[in-house]
Each structure stands twice: as structure tokens, then as C-alpha cells.
Symmetry: C2
Subunit: 455 residues, 2 copies
């Protein structure tokens, strides 16, 4: 007896003592006519090939660290960038509200929480997604004008992308903490590590972040929730230049200690690099390749190469994973952050086969890590030869999520991620695995059919 | 048809068109009576348990960098330590002779090659194995009085072990180069990185090298021929202290650049740590656990816990592996160096399952890397829970080679290693996999039986 798809039938037959071979199959998702039409369209295939070739040829290099307002001129007083698709104060989740409050205090727009809340409620604050300015921020992703940001340049296509400096773990703004120690750290980052890193990186003529990711993927990182190798390689590469361009011995030592003390320091440059890779594949007419996946803690949004800057939205999901001691699912916020740009570019959970040690942090077993990567080849257009996984005989990471294959196989892209507490200021309470809502892909599929054949 | 052992029979039967299931089996090595007697001896089992428990509880920490003569007082004028079992000038291979010449020039005992050779031929030089002073040196392993050495202390048992600073690749003393740039680099290492690292490590109160190895094994290193993660973690850990204790900005930057520029910098502290681990297991009466494997380029020597300081010697073998462009087997020296102490302690080739990317350097495929580790469990007493391999579900590395199992299974410990050119001064020409000669283990087995039952 061979059973294809729904286990219900197999269970019933097995209960009668008959051996059943189960073949995994799920009915396709989305509009079936749109799916069949787009799957058969050679022009979509060709567009996807172009989009992914651009992604694979992108060459992100960290060229500078600058105050955000210098490189994103629109980022002026009372304007804040946030993670995920567009959202206003009234719908924001706890950790994002906390980060907004902290940013208002940090920028001097409010003296305390109540002034910041009043400012937000008055409508005076102007919120926009980081992605609208080619920036990406982990968790709440709040980026304010004075924060230093990594400037990553795609040397192949000339695009520039941005990401803030990682604050570390514990009480940090990106998890919605806004106490005095958070604000002080942000001000110190603005005064010391930001300028110091900018000087060192300029003196080095840039740091090849694509090369760091490539090496880190052979060193147990997947460059989303495991960034230990990339962080170590970054310190190793920037150390001498930090010393040579440092303003004092004490400051240089404090910067080195700050970076060395945070295994996730390199998450942010990796995210900016992933943004540069996906941006290179954007805006190819007819292409069904996903170029953005991002969450604001309430909504999950995707953008698709052939569909311009339109967001396709569904509800952010809850994460399955491991909780830190003293926390459980009742504490969890829904999925949040721009960090799913890593998976969109082919790393993160898509590269977990090379990062088996990550299961200590997000749960599961090393064989699960292998399985996640293997499955993703079914919904992607290509593999990236520059990002090889040793344990898969150096096969490249699966790259270029095709919304047609996601719907055809009813198989969602996997994302590994931190779990934020649902209240502002508590911080990270765990890490695990999460999926986007299928409706993002169904809506995008319908829109791509609409655009392609009815315009 | 089931065939156990020799393939000759299976081949003949298969040639007649009959299906054959092959079961690997080789006749035991060594004296069969000694083997059967020692395998049945419960006191050997108990002694091995003690030896390996001591190895697993060893806690090596880098506590200092000092001139060799300060920490090894016997190392005075005209005395040199070398890799492997004892050997004199007349039997030394090319790269070791080259390193001796370089060390004589570096120490000011000779002005040039001909003076150094005359000194060596006069019998005025006093050679002794590094291992006799709890030191270990990669390749030629020549250690002279003025060279700075890492001082590693086993915080559990109090032993101290030593290893020189790694010079980098290319023209370096350990491969027998002795040109002016080699001597200049050694003098600079004595004047700048040696004292700088000593100050920084003392200021840090030591660097937990066991913790670095443990992390590096989860980051694609096996800590013998892949040291990229360990080197990066070392830089990350020592960076701020180097800055704080540095004598000038230029010197600190030069030290950071020197370490960061050499993916193998951490080989030497890993070797000193491996020496500390194996030393902890030495001198347990009746134990059949190997505590030293070392090669001088001519002889391979092992020492066994229950057999004191006696060396059991056989001819050093030739390495199977990958050659650098322009070189081939005709250029290769036989197996050389103390670095097989890593395998003796449970890492190196024994941990290759966690370092699949190493096959790009030594040849073979990632599945070979898995197989090497898996096979070594058959000839070792325990696995080391502190050194877990993620891809093996965090199983610890196979630790404590038992000469009885090596002989019973006729299965030799695997070693991965660099290939030195047979002439002095050329340097590394490749890397690969090598085995000790079986006679070392056969001789040790006979000696252990002799000692145990006839004294």
C-alpha cells in the first residue's frame, strides 16, 4: 500500500494491520490556475535566472561606518526606521514600542518614557521600514538618525546597504529595552566604536564581508543565529587597523573588548551583506524570486523581484524552539526583525547544514540542521558556489526562493531566529525555528499572474 | 558467500560470478600470546581507566610566553631540542639539519652555514628531544635557548608544557630554512611578539586553551592542520590586552598583524595543550595507553603510559596527500614533527569528522573525514566529552590510544600532517594523511608484557 500525501488515510489503513509506504505530498497552495500558468511560463524562468545570477554575482564589502543620517539623508528629526513591513505606533508590538521609546530618549526628542509615548501618540513620529532605505535591523530594527551604521557596498552593482552596530545581548534596544544603561551604551557606541570602526575600515580600504561569510560557513556559522566565526574573523581582520587608527590605547582596547565580547557582533554586517545580495536580484520584471522577507512583530511581509516595492503581508507566526531558563511560550512575541534577509539571500537557516552546533541554541538535532538545508533546494532557483557547505561536499547554499515552488510544494522557507519577550525591555527569551505565513506567497503569486498577463 | 578478511579469496570467488559480502578483518599484529594475555588482564583495563581519566580531567591554560632557557633551564649554549625520538646530527634528515643550522646562526653560535655544519660535525652540539622537557615542536621542532615559548599549565595536575611561537608558512625554520629573512623573523619574534604576548597573557591571568580547542572543534578546526578558528578565537581573546599592555601602537599593530596573518598560529599552543593532556596520563603502571607519538623525519617513536620514558621506534613513513603546485612525492621528506601529539590527545585527525573543510588541504572527501574519526573509537579507551563533534551528535573525540587494540585490530592511529621538502630550506610542499609503523606498537606490546609478568 502506497499513501501519497495526507497521513489520515495511511493511519486508517495501518490501523488495520496493512503495511503502508508514506510519500510526503501536500496539495499546492494558492490559486491553482495562476500557479500552473506561471510554472509553465518560460519568461518567468528566464527572469529568475537573471535575478539569481545578479544575486550570486553581488560582492558586498563593508566600506565604512557612518552616522545613519549621513548615509540615509531622509533620516532626520522625528523619523525612525523599523524592521519588517510598514506599521504605525498603534499596531506596534511591545518590543518595538520599547525600542521607539528608547530611540526618542537617545536622540533627545523625549526626556523619558511618558514624553516618548506622548510624542508617538501625537503622530509626530514618522515611521518607515528600514528596507525602504536599503537598511536592515535585527529584532525591532529601530534605526534613528544618530546611530552609527555599517555601510556595505556591492562592488559588482554599486548598491549600498546599511545596518546598525550590534549592541550585544541582555538589555538592548533591539529587544525593546530603554533603561539608562541602554541609552548610555548607544551614546558610547555613537562616540567610540562607530567612529573607530569607520576609521579602521576606511584605512583597510574595506572589509570583504562576502569572504567573511564564505569562510564562516565553513566554520560552523550560518550567519543568522550563529555568528561566532564571522565575529572572530572580523576582529582578526580589523584589529591591527583599529590599533593604528585609534585615538587612544584605552578607547581601542574598549572597542576590541566590546566586539570580542559579543558572539553576535557580525550578525549586522552579515545582514547588510544579505540585503546587498538580495537587492541585486530585485526589480527584474516577471521574476518570481523573493528579495525581501521581514517581520515587524505583528506582520510578516515579503517582496518579490518582479513585483517592485509592493509588500505581501500575513500575520507574523510564533517560534518553535528553546526558551532560556525561566521563560516559556506565554512570554514570546511573534516573529520580529529584518534578519530573515539572511535566509532570503541563502544563508541563515538555509545554511544550517554547515552549522550543526546551532541546535544547542535553537533546539533540534544536527540531522535536523542538515534536513533544513536539503529541503530548501526544492524551493530555490540555484545554489551559491561561493557559499559552500563542507558537510554537503561543498555544495553551495540554496539561493533565490521561488514563490511558484513554495506554492507548488506547499513548502515554506525556514527561518531560524531569536525569540523576543512580548513586553518591552525584557530582551531575548529564546531561539528557534519559524516559517512565514503561506498567504504572503499566495498573494504574491496572484499579483504576479495579474501583472504578467493582465497589463 | 561471506568473506572475512583478505580480499584475495573474495576476488577469486567474485570472478566466478558469485555474490560476495566482504567483512573487513585483518590478522592481529604483534606477539599473539602477549596480546591475548594483556587483553585479558583486568589490571591493564583499570590502569587505562586511570590514565584516560587523568587525560580527560587535564585543564591546560596558556599562562605565559617566556624565553625557552628561562623555563627549561637545561637549554643552554650549544644545546638544541628537536622533534621526535632521539637522533644525532649524522642521521638527521634535510629539513632538521637546515633548522639546526638556522638555530646556530640565530643564537650566534655560528656566523654562517659552513660554521654551523662544522660545529654540528664536531660533536659540540647537544641534541635532545623536545619531549624530554615536556616541550613539543612542529616539523623539525628545533627549539633553542633564546626562542620565546608558550608556557601551558595543566591547572588540574600542575604540569607545565612548552611550545615555540609559530613562524607562519613559506621559508621558516621548522621546515629547515635558514636564510637571512628566517633569522631576522626569529630575532623579531624574540624581541616583539614574544614579550608582547607574555605581557598580555599575564595581564589576562591566562588563556584557557582547552576552551579554545573545545570551541574550535565546533568551528571546523581539528587543531592540527586546520587552526583557523582557534587562531581567530585567540586573536579575539588576546587583542584588547595586547593593546593595553603594548609598548607602542606600531608594535601592537605588528603583533596583531603577524598573528592574524597566519591561519596556523594556534597550532603551537594547541600542541602544548595536547602535550599537557597526554602528560597527565603518563606513568600509570601497567597502562597500555599511548602518551607520545613523535617523528624526527627518520624515526617514528611512541611512548606508553605504563612503560615510563622508553621510546619504541620504527621508520617514519611517507605521507599520502595533496602536493602544492610544482611538487610531488619525489620531493617529500618522511613524516616529521611532534605535532602528532594532537592525535595522541584525541584531536587532529582523530577529530576530522568536525573539520570537513580540511579535505581541501589534505585530500579526500568530507566522508573520509567522518570515517577517520569513527574508526578511531575502535582503538581508543574513551571519548572526551569536553571536545564534542557537532556532526556526530556532539560525541566526544576518541581519546587514549590503546596499543592492545591497535595490535588486535591491526589498525593504526591516523595522523594528518604537513609534508616537508626533503631538502633544507624549501619548506612545506603539501599535506596529507600518514600512519605510524606498526612495529612501534608491537615492540611496546612485547615490552608491556615483559614488564608486567616478568619483573
Amino acid at each position: 500500500m502506497v499513501n501519497v500525501g495526507a497521513d489520515l488515510f495511511a493511519d486508517a489503513i495501518e490501523a488495520q494491520g496493512i503495511a503502508v509506504t508514506r510519500v510526503a505530498w501536500r496539495p499546492p497552495a494558492g490559486d491553482q490556475l495562476a500557479l500552473v500558468t506561471l510554472l509553465a511560463d518560460q519568461k518567468v524562468e528566464e527572469a529568475n535566472k537573471i535575478a539569481v545570477e545578479r544575486m550570486l554575482s553581488a560582492h558586498p564589502v563593508i566600506v565604512d561606518v557612518r552616522p545613519a543620517h549621513e548615509v540615509i539623508p531622509a533620516l532626520q528629526k522625528h523619523k525612525l526606521l523599523h524592521a519588517g513591513p510598514p506599521i504605525g505606533w498603534e499596531r506596534m508590538c511591545g518590543p518595538m514600542r520599547g525600542a521607539v521609546i528608547g530611540a526618542c530618549i537617545y536622540e533627545g526628542w523625549a526626556r523619558d518614557e511618558s514624553e516618548a509615548v506622548a510624542l508617538a501618540e501625537s503622530g509626530a513620529l514618522n515611521f518607515e521600514p528600514c528596507h525602504h532605505y536599503n537598511a536592515v535591523g535585527p529584532m525591532a530594527g529601530i534605526t534613528s538618525p544618530s546611530m552609527p551604521v555599517f555601510v556595505v557596498e556591492d562592488k559588482t552593482h554599486g548598491n549600498r546597504t546599511y545596518s546598525t552596530l550590534n549592541e550585544g545581548l541582555g538589555k538592548v534596544l533591539r529587544f525593546g529595552a530603554f533603561g539608562p544603561e541602554v541609552i548610555e551604551r548607544l551614546r558610547w557606541m555613537q562616540e567610540v566604536p562607530g567612529p573607530a570602526l569607520g576609521r579602521a575600515i576606511r584605512a583597510l580600504g574595506g572589509i570583504d564581508v562576502r569572504a567573511i561569510i564564505s569562510q564562516a560557513l565553513q566554520m560552523g556559522d550560518e550567519c543568522h543565529n550563529r555568528n561566532k566565526a564571522a565575529t572572530s574573523l572580523f576582529v582578526r581582520q580589523v584589529g591591527a587597523a583599529l590599533v593604528e587608527t585609534g585615538s587612544s590605547r584605552e578607547e581601542t582596547a574598549s572597542v576590541l573588548r566590546f566586539i570580542a565580547g559579543n558572539d553576535h557582533f557580525h550578525l549586522n554586517p552579515s545582514m547588510a551583506a544579505a540585503k546587498a545580495i538580495t537587492l541585486a536580484g530585485a526589480h527584474v520584471p516577471r521574476s518570481s524570486v523573493v528579495v525581501t522577507m521581514a517581520r515587524n512583530g505583528v506582520d510578516f511581509g515579503i517582496r518579490v523581484s518582479g513585483l517592485g516595492d509592493r509588500w505581501f503581508i500575513g500575520p507574523a507566526q510564533y517560534i518553535q524552539g528553546l526558551y532560556f531558563a525561566g521563560f516559556g511560550p506565554e512570554d514570546a512575541n511573534a516573529d520580529i526583525g529584518d534578519s530573515a534577509i539572511t535566509e532570503t539571500s541563502g544563508v541563515g537557516a538555509f545554511a544550517m547544514a554547515g552549522a550543526p552546533a546551532i541546535v544547542q541554541f535553537i533546539g533540534g538535532s544536527p540531522s535536523d540542521a542538515l534536513r533544513y538545508t536539503r529541503e530548501m533546494y526544492d524551493i530555490t532557483v540555484a545554489s551559491n558556489p561561493l557559499f559552500g557547505i563542507p558537510s554537503l561536499d561543498f555544495q553551495g547554499v540554496p539561493t533565490g526562493i521561488d514563490i511558484r515552488q513554495v506554492c507548488r510544494l506547499n513548502m515554506l522557507p525556514v527561518i531560524n531566529t531569536g525569540i523576543a519577550h512580548r513586553l518591552p525591555g525584557v530582551g531575548q527569551v529564546g531561539a528557534g525555528v519559524v516559517y512565514p505565513p503561506m498567504e504572503c506567497f499566495e498573494k504574491a503569486l496572484a499579483a504576479l499572474k495579474e501583472d504578467t498577463y493582465h497589463e
